[in-house]
């Protein structure tokens, strides 16, 4: 880290060195945003604040995408995540009126929280330890098309999606349709009319929950 910072600070004037330094800069800024945002999501008590911190993380990830020449994905990340998903979160929070503070300390199972922290640390340490192993990057490169080379990133992604990944792509279309239908069914107002099947099922479940 220090060495790389040094290289950023002591950058010579050649264009390559500049690009190198800017890549590092983007990475560091993105990393800072990601970590800040993630910490915010975990630690802040108000769900609205959590959602806003999530946006910060998502922007950070988008930065890292750009840094790794995934331009198209960076755009999609901003549009879909920050533009749609987080808005949806916020909408639900506001709609339900649950934007009050959560008592993080209250916990029905005593061991849950320390174990969770321990688990998170252990997993992290393990992943880091694994990353020290140098011989595990394998596989056949450029299985579905090269990343580098001539052409736009968007063009290459599009080509891959509409040729080699056509079937999964069609299936995501089906998945989205199913999700839409499921959402409509789930959020239908149950109880009031009392004659639609989905509502009856939900009512049954809720009565069991309350009992």
């Amino acid at each position: 880290m220090l060495a790389s910072l040094q290289s950023v600070l002591l950058a010579d004037t050649s264009a390559q060195a500049l690009a190198h330094a800017s890549a590092w800069a983007v990475f560091l800024v993105g990393a800072a945003m990601i970590l800040t945002g993630a910490a915010g999501v975990i630690l802040l008590r108000n769900p609205v604040h959590c959602a806003l911190m999530l946006v910060v993380t998502l922007f950070g990830v988008a930065l890292e995408f750009i840094d790794q020449s995934a331009d198209f994905l960076a755009a999609v990340q901003i549009i879909v995540y920050a533009g749609a998903v987080v808005i949806l979160f916020l909408f639900v929070i506001m709609f339900l009126g649950v934007d009050r503070k959560e008592a993080i300390a209250a916990e029905p199972t005593k061991l849950q929280k320390p174990l969770a922290l321990l688990m998170g640390l252990v997993v992290l340490v393990e992943i880091l330890a694994l990353s020290r192993v140098d011989h595990w990057v394998g596989g056949t490169p450029a299985l579905s098309g090269a990343l580098n080379g001539p052409g736009d990133n968007v063009q290459k992604v599009g080509q891959a999606v509409y040729t080699g990944y056509l079937l999964p792509f069609e299936m995501t279309a089906a998945l989205l349709v199913i999700a839409v239908v499921a959402t409509v069914v789930l959020s239908k107002r149950a109880g009031g009319a009392g004659n639609d099947e989905a509502g009856a099922v939900v009512a049954e479940e809720s009565s069991e929950v309350t009992s």
Binding site: H20, W24, V41, V61, I93, S144, L176, A190, V209
Partner: protein, 101 residues
């Protein structure tokens, strides 16, 4: 020359670990959902990194699919939460435990 891949992978690991920990610690269902999004993003980051590392566009395409699935998941999940909150205001994940043995 750009940043070595290992940096991104470490960053993704940290993000993933934070997301997982948050999922286990928080009780608000909505926040738990956000933590899942954090974990998904961590995985996406690794996908993109490996795409660069292996010079394979497939990694980026996978991220696209993950985005779609995540969107669908959020939509359905939020719908469930809405249906849930209609019955019980201020519900947390711990209020639903009739499956207790």
């Amino acid at each position: 020359m750009s940043v070595p891949s290992a940096w991104y992978l470490v960053l993704a690991a940290i993000l993933f670990g934070m997301g997982a920990t948050g999922l286990l610690v928080r009780r608000n269902v909505l926040v738990m959902f956000m933590c899942i999004e954090l974990m998904l993003n961590a995985v996406n980051l690794t996908f993109v990194t490996f795409a660069r590392l292996l010079n394979d566009i497939g990694g980026q395409v996978d991220v696209l699919f993950v985005l779609v699935v995540a969107a669908a998941e959020v939509v359905v999940g939020l719908a469930i939460i809405v249906a849930l909150f209609r019955r019980r205001a201020a519900a947390t994940a711990d209020d639903i435990h009739i499956l207790k043995g």
